[in-house]
């Protein structure tokens, strides 16, 4: 066997071992969520449940259903709004020379890197003063605004690849700002919309800091409810684990079905230029 082949066999074995290590937390979560509370014991933590005990999922569902609903309303509306605005911004920044356009993009993009702790107190005050504090509309607004940098950046890099000549040609044919957007840009926007929506949905669904500081209990998304449950000391572990599965399910489904687009969103942030 050549050295190249030995290396590849070794890599194959290592990959299997590492995949097992990476799946350990998933295994532990699933088996613990299926155990009866009495069966959960540190010494048998690694053993499969003697009998699948689905009741924890029923309890978790009952407890988390309102929060899951909040998360869906929040994530879907904030995703769509930030994607639509990002698409328009990306169109303007890639196809029009507007005054200050050169500095606008870095200044917009900077907004996605700031630690949100540095805006949290004024944001909290602002939400109180505008009576948006506590409810979902306020949280949606916050996620739309702080989502704009990444959606604008992603759409702009996609639209930059549409040749300017096409835009000029439409322009000569008499299409205006909106005409070009509707008949040229929008029909080409399928893949970027998918990438941006998957990215935003995952981020917003998983977000915690804004959710925990800006919502009242009735509007809390699933991440806050899960953290509150798991933070309590008295609960046995089957419930937090079942709750984790419920909280992870939507993003998992998106990831498994559309993983390719998820990775593209992931790479676009760091590999541009």
């Amino acid at each position: 066997m050549s050295s190249g082949k030995t290396i590849r066999v070794l890599a194959q074995i290592l990959a299997v071992l590492l995949a097992m290590v990476y799946l350990v937390p998933i295994y532990m979560t699933l088996i613990t969520s299926l155990k009866a509370p009495a069966e959960i014991n540190v010494m048998t933590a690694w053993a499969l449940p003697s009998k699948a005990h689905w009741a924890s999922y029923g309890v978790a569902w009952e407890r988390f259903a309102p929060n899951l609903q909040n998360s869906f309303v929040l994530a879907i509306s904030a995703t769509l709004l930030s994607a639509i605005m990002g698409s328009l911004n990306g169109y303007v920044l890639s196809k029009y020379r507007i005054p200050g356009g050169k500095v606008a993009l870095p200044l917009i993009v900077f907004g996605m890197f700031i630690p949100y702790q540095s805006v949290l107190v004024p944001l909290f005050r602002f939400m109180q003063q505008t009576r948006l504090y506590g409810g979902l509309p306020g949280l949606i607004l916050v996620h739309v605004v702080y989502g704009l940098p990444i959606t604008t950046l992603l759409f702009r890099s996609f639209y930059q690849e549409i040749p300017d000549e096409l835009v000029d040609a439409s322009s000569i044919d008499g299409a205006g700002f909106w005409g070009i957007f509707r008949h040229l840009i929008l029909p080409l926007s399928g893949p970027p919309f998918l990438v941006v929506c998957i990215w935003q949905f995952t981020q917003i669904w998983n977000e915690f800091l804004f959710a925990v500081t800006l919502t009242k209990p009735s509007s809390q998304p699933i991440t806050v409810a899960l953290a509150n449950l798991a933070g309590g000391q008295a609960v046995s572990w089957n419930l937090p684990m079942a709750g984790s599965v419920l909280a992870a399910l939507p993003t998992t489904i998106v990831y498994v079905l559309l993983g390719r687009y998820f990775v593209r969103g992931l790479l676009a942030g760091a590999l541009k230029g």
Binding site: R8, A15, Y96, S118, A227
Partner: protein, 369 residues
Amino acid sequence: MHTRREHLAAIVTILPSIILLGIFVYGFIANSIYMSTTDWGQTAAMSLDPQIESVGLDNYRDLFTGFLNVRFRQDLVNMFFFTLLFVGLSLLVGLVLATIIDQLFWGETFFRTVFLYPMSLSMVVTGTIWRWILQPRGGINVLPTLIGLPPGKFLWLSSRDQRLVFDWSHLLHYACWVLLVVLAISAYSQWRQGKKGRLAWHLVICGVLAGLIASRVLTRLRLLPYPEMHGFNDALWGVVIAAVWQMSGYTMALYLAGLRTIPRELREAARVDGGSELQIYRYVDLPLLKPITASAIVILGHIALKIFDLIFAISSPDHYPTSMPAVTMFLKAFRGNELAVGSAIGVILFFIVSLLIVPYLIVSFRREE
């Protein structure tokens, strides 16, 4: 090209976003900076028309040297070590994973999906899961008993042990050490690349720093009137493991994309010249991955510096050994109503993260033009 009318339409279209971000990012940061120089807190925080007085930089001075803010200083130390370990290990693990996947006979998509999967989870979910696995007498620690060994004793999240303990009042002295190490590494790479001019400057500054350290003059400049010990908390290992599990798939994806852009001919040429697989990896692949490492450090670094949700879920915001500035900010501002102090911590975080992000953005956008 475009008519005036269209330009106007373009400006009107983007204006709402510009205004929103102007207020929510720049306006609010400015407001935080202003608030951090006041005594806004406690009862005044709740009143509609609070009596706020300016206190200058007192909040900052208190955070760095005040008797009551010892927790914040340990937070900074935790953040430093966590960032170092998390970024370093994520890069290393991600590189190993990408290298392995690049060599596979079969199952590439499957393995990529498995390693990247934790990225799609919430840090709250990750924290909850690992909190269970890292229980003092459960999960990882019972693993050795499965093959007949005594159970592990390490307290992954709750250990109170500290290593690398140092006196905070000598902070500047140790800061010089850190700077010296960074500059020495940078000088070494300048020397490797044969950039003589820059190397000279690096060596001069290194010399000055070494002199400062050797003379111990900075240890006499005491920040605190009493010794206050801080160090690396062993309890951070649990957080680091969970965070690396979550984010190493990201570096893997970056490196894998990088490896795939290396032209086949380049490797072939190296092979024809008699290079072994290991040499090709070392001298062809690795150097070409350097720019990816640079952006990965920035992206992971800024995630590490503002880590909040993972800490919240994996231990508890009140758990001292794993606390971070972002967590203490939340407690101060939203549980203790010390809004001015909370703002000050937020502003400190903002400046630390900006040190990392601003050069990155400048370089990225310059390259684009």
